[in-house]
Amino acid sequence: MAKHHISTTINGEPVEFLCNTEQTMLDVLRDELHLTGTKEGCATGDCGACSITVDGRLVCSCLMLGVEAEGHAIQTIEGMADGDQLHPLQQKFLEYAALQCGICTPGFLVASRALLERNPNPTEEEARYWLAGNLCRCTGYDKIIRAVLDTAADMRGAS
């Protein structure tokens, strides 16, 4: 069967790709576009390592088909920093040692940014429930939650 030709926007740039009907967005990002910052931990929507945003909405890219990207704006971890200027969440994750192995980190950062875009002043409980779809096996979440809450405070102060 012929592949589909898809036109989309990824991290602000127009992108075209070919994909099979059954290919997930995660597979397209990793295998076709070589954007391997988006990780596969389960491919069943349970771990959040493949988190991206589609028109600002947080989704697991393993639960989305590549063809569904047509005409939408995708953001991945590769688009989070502005050149060599890290996003405040990225900087704060480093300062708080909020990562150990780092495999879940892109997903957490994408999900955390989506949280702060909706809710610039989350409580600890709100942050914990928003990030409950992202699994981390190394940190016990403590330093991740602290980094997110402190970033939110900084960004509120800066705006």
């Binding site: 990793r30 391997t36 389960c42 991945t76 890290l86 150990q100 192995c101 940190t139 991740i144 939650i145």
Partner: protein, 760 residues
């Protein structure tokens, strides 16, 4: 020097940003599945759908005929290996078994056991090939539970397994691979002296390490026999050694390049895919990439044992514990080699106890072969012993921390596994709990507080490091241990401390097997200790060379040169009056004073400092649903010396939370055919952010005299105490002693109902 005599440290103990951090927050870091080679094929594994089955035949001809399929392999493509022991993560294992676990030869021994593999030009072709392989199975009776497997008449997995350690040697095969006994003093006489005896049996469920990154590798077998492997593992040298052994290839022909590792916790201390990818590459002439799905990780890679723990402890009325006896039965999965040995030795190690006996059984069942998991074996026996000690405290009406303080091991105590302890911090961690505000927070209805203490040996072992001084005065530190939780940061910090330069000027790398000396794997909490020692030694050699260059420059003897704050200075006024030479000055001129400055160190570190930790948890139990909510959690631990305190705290927090999952939710659920029913993160539920409070930590520092900065391993101790601490808190909350893990809502609810029925 500080007034107390400890060296005045500038870098060790600070919290710099980790050197690999930016790559990991921007998505640039390359993990196992992120790497690719041009022309690579997709490799996939066919796994047994049966818990126990004889493989009568495998017909791969239809699979081979599918367009795009370039290679199909079975165990027949691997050398048949005779028994030979190797020391892997959990302890000794057998290469014959390791080969059999990599790919089943005559029998499939668990649901998920690899039986064949394919390599094809696309995932779709590979899937079609797997579906076209015809395996003729003779399904055999199976056994999942450890005690069922020990019963006479149980289905026997290996007809050449005769229990070792029993006299006389059994005449019939069984599933009990080994029986072992540890004994100190006279246990039976000691129980005679006890006023109170607590005796109970506990049970734990097998749990998976649950690393978020599935196993993945790329292998290339070249026409001249050279093998390149790119993979994420807990040891590139481990991968090299095992692939060499399993496939009969010379070590010098294999080069393993480590990729970033997305969690391991012991589960990546052995090989699954790598030998298969090498064989498929050899057969196809193309590079082969293989990655497990999450389902394959659960069905085909090692969890740790589940087991039963029978405990008997005796104490005097004043709280002095006088005797301990335990029987541990651990399931090893399909091949012998559970961590029951360390389970035995750690069981009573928190206590000053002279009369101890522990009997252990290593038992095979139709489950995946266990792999190491953080402090292998210790959490299981600790759950039993620390639950029993809590029951003792209740019986004595003594505060559980005071009871532990009264009996705690300290310097000079004979460990309950034999040797006399040197400098240890068991008492300090108990006192840190007592002095923490969490200890006195008032509790509400259905809320309870639990405490437990734990121990792990920590290990040292073989490590190498190379320090290269660059011509601009920066340095590269190469070691051979995958960085699983921030170890590159601590390597750079220790090198910077010795060299006397900013840590930002040291670039630490994890080198491939052909570029640095041998390092034993990342495990046993050994890297900061042992590989750290190699880094310190290599850095000291580099400093000696730098001093020699300064001596040459000044024309004075080398012993008249001292190294201070990254500069060579004359040792006192007699040495002469020279302007200091910085590392930068010396590096810039190194070519003209004798050549490049580089130093290596290879050593076998002994004397790892034992680790202790005490955890305190508050829970609230919902009697309606059986749900246990963690309200507060405190983990205290002796780190010897925290090189990078943030990553020490991170190890403690992460280990504690894995323990909370072990305590409350995690288990393997099998159907009556022995098939795993919950091979995914939806149904095998590891803790998520909303399940937890902040994890408070107190790091106490009782320096390990065998390490240049006093470091001891920290990664494993924190998973030891949580299960008992949680059970003790649940008992405190609702007056029910939970003896079986996980203490999941259905089990707690059932226990509450039984309690209510008993009271009526």
């Amino acid at each position: 020097m500080a007034p107390d005599g400890t060296p005045d440290l500038k870098v060790v103990g600070t919290r710099p940003i980790r050197p690999d951090g930016v790559d990991k927050v921007t998505g640039r870091a390359q993990f196992g599945a992120d790497f690719q080679l041009p022309g690579q094929l997709v490799g996939k594994v066919l796994r047994s759908p049966h818990a126990h089955a004889r493989i009568r035949s495998i017909d791969t001809s239809k699979a081979e005929a599918i367009p795009g399929v370039k290679a199909v392999m079975t165990a027949a493509d691997m050398p048949e290996i005779t028994s030979e022991e190797a020391f892997v993560g959990e302890g000794p294992a057998d290469f014959k078994d390791m080969s059999g676990n990599t790919m089943a030869r005559d029998k499939a021994l668990y649901d998920g056991h690899a039986v064949a593999a394919v390599a094809a030009t696309s995932a779709a072709a590979a899937d079609a090939a797997l579906a076209a392989i015809e395996v003729d199975y003779e399904v055999l009776p199976h056994v999942i539970d450890v005690e069922d497997a020990m019963v006479e008449g149980a289905p026997v997995l290996h007809d050449d397994m005769f229990t070792s350690g029993v006299d006389p040697k059994p005449a019939t095969p069984s599933n009990v691979a080994k029986r072992m006994v540890f004994e100190l003093g006279d246990v039976d006489a000691a129980f005679e002296k006890a006023d109170i005896v607590i005796e109970r049996k506990y049970k734990t469920a097998p749990v998976h390490q649950g690393y978020i990154e599935p196993h993945a590798c790329v292998a290339q077998y070249a026409a001249d026999g050279q093998v390149q492997i790119y993979c994420s593992s807990q040891g590139q040298f481990m991968v090299r050694a095992y692939v060499a052994k399993l496939l009969g290839i010379d070590i010098s022909e294999i080069r393993v390049t480590p990729l970033e590792i997305g969690g391991g916790f012991g589960g990546k201390t052995l090989v699954y895919l790598e030998p298969l990818a090498v064989v498929l590459s050899r057969k196809s002439g193309r590079p082969v990439k293989m990655a497990m799905t999450r389902e394959e990780v659960f069905r085909g890679s090692g969890p740790t044992s589940g087991g039963t723990v029978w405990v008997k402890i005796g104490a005097k009325r004043d709280g002095t514990i006088v005797a301990g006896d335990a029987v541990l039965k651990f399931q090893a999965g399909a091949y012998a080699g559970s961590p029951v040995g360390p389970g035995c030795m750690t069981a009573f190690a928190v206590y000053d106890l002279q009369d101890v006996r522990i009997t252990g059984y290593d038992v095979v069942t139709n489950r995946p072969k266990v792999a190491a998991y953080r402090a292998p074996g210790a959490p299981i026996s600790n759950f039993g012993v620390e639950s029993a000690v809590d029951e003792l405290a209740r019986e004595l009406d003594m505060d559980p921390v005071e009871l532990r303080l009264k009996n705690a091991a300290k310097k000079g105590t004979k460990a309950a596994y034999g040797p006399t302890f040197g400098d240890i911090g068991c008492v300090e961690t108990l006192e840190a709990v007592k002095n923490h505000p969490n200890y006195n927070v008032p509790l509400g209805p259905n809320q309870g507080r639990g405490v437990a203490a734990g121990f792990w040996f920590n290990i040292g072992g073989e490590s190498s490091a190379t320090v290269n001084i660059n011509e601009d005065g920066t340095a590269v530190v190469a070691t051979g241990n995958p960085d699983i939780g921030g170890s590159r940061a601590s390597m750079a910090m220790m090198a910077a401390e010795v060299l006397g330069i900013d840590v930002e000027r040291v670039r630490p790398i994890v080198a491939d097997t052909s570029s640095v000396g041998y390092c034993f794997l990342t495990g046993g909490s050994r890297v900061t200790f042992a590989t750290g020692m190699a880094v310190v030694e290599a850095s000291k050699s580099a400093v000696n060379e730098l001093k020699a260059r300064a001596a040459k420059t000044w024309d004075i003897p080398v012993d008249a040169v001292e190294w201070e704050d990254g500069r060579a200075v004359p040792a006192g006024s007699n040495a002469g009056d020279f302007e200091p030479l910085s590392l930068e000055d010396l590096a810039a001129k190194s070519g003209r004073t004798g050549g490049p400055i580089a130093a290596t160190s290879s050593l076998n570190a002994q004397g790892a400092g034992p680790g202790f930790g005490t955890h305190l948890v508050d829970v609230e139990v919902d009697r309606e649903t059986g749900h246990v909510k963690v309200l507060r959690y405190l983990a205290t631990q002796d780190a010897g010396r925290a090189i990078h305190p943030s990553y020490v705290e991170g190890q403690i927090q992460g280990g504690a939370v894995q323990g909370i999952g072990w305590a409350l939710n995690e288990e393997y659920i099998y159907d009556d055919k022995g098939r795993l029913e919950n091979p995914g993160f939806l149904d095998y539920r590891i803790p998520v952010a909303s399940d937890l409070p902040m994890i408070d930590t107190v790091v106490v520092e009782v320096p390990n005299p065998r390490h240049p900065y006093g470091a001891r391993g920290v990664g494993e101790v924190p998973i030891v105490p949580p299960m008992a601490a949680m059970a003790n808190a649940i008992q405190d909350a609702i007056g029910i002693r939970m003896t079986e893990l996980p203490m999941s809502p259905p089990k707690v609810r059932k226990a509450v109902d039984e309690q209510a029925a008993a009271e009526e």
